[in-house]
Amino acid sequence: MNTDLVLEIVAGLCLVLGALMSLAAAIGLLRFPDLLSRMHAATKPQVFGLLLLLIGLALQLRSWAAVPVLIIAWLFQLLTVPVSAHMVGRAGYRTKHLHRETLSVDDLDAVVQKAAAEEAERRKADAAEEAALAADPELAAELAAEGDAGKKPAGKPKGVLRTKEPKETAAKASAKRRRES
């Protein structure tokens, strides 16, 4: 008889602890200042609380048939909750949801700056190429002919064929570009 009682007490304890974990998750969600810290509060207790609850359920049911299903249920949560929190965090980071002051170190900053620098470089290269094309019309004409012949011009097709401004003289085109930049 007392093994039943012990099992029941342990199961009851697991259930209460699991519920307290959900409470911790909810309260952490409310009090944490920032989206990224709220993610911690939301995901960790949720998975651990579910583990405790499932253990309590397994102890209560006391049948080995149910254990695989419980393990599957927990594994699903264990796999999916971190992934969804990661997606939410990345979306939050991308749409500037985080407050810089709460961050001690921003690992992603270096990567983002490098990507931005590369992007700026590429755009400058495009602009230089266009300026060169505007400078000597025959190159543009030749490239245009090349384009008509169906062969893809080397490099970026987008910026290369400047057939839109044949009338403007080269000087005016570069002047316009200097004013724009």
Binding site: A19, I27, L54, L57, A85, V88
Partner: protein, 94 residues
């Protein structure tokens, strides 16, 4: 049918889950951005799963075990979809 100890456990779990659900809903209402709301909804779904599991445990039946799995999957799909399509609608300086 089941022992008084389990009834007490059920009452405690119910009260705790109800309070945490209220707190999660308050975060949903207050959440400044949609991403906070998505996380709060995930927690709310976890609380619903917790309630189902507690009910199954105390009354010793396995009726809605698959429902718990399905709820966790739907929660995951939902939050990933929202995270995928969220855009920053604030006006940008550059």
């Amino acid at each position: 049918m089941n022992s008084p100890f389990m009834e007490v456990v059920l009452v405690i779990v119910t009260v705790v889950l109800a309070f945490s659900a209220a707190v999660a809903i308050s975060r949903i209402v207050k959440g400044p951005s949609i991403l906070d709301r998505v996380i709060a909804i995930d927690v709310l779904l976890a609380i619903v799963c917790a309630g189902l599991i507690a009910d199954m445990a105390v009354r010793k039946h396995q009726a809605n075990l698959t429902l718990v799995i399905i709820i966790s999957l739907v929660g995951f799909i939902g939050s990933v979809t929202v995270a995928r399509f969220v855009i920053d609608r604030r006006t940008h300086e550059h």
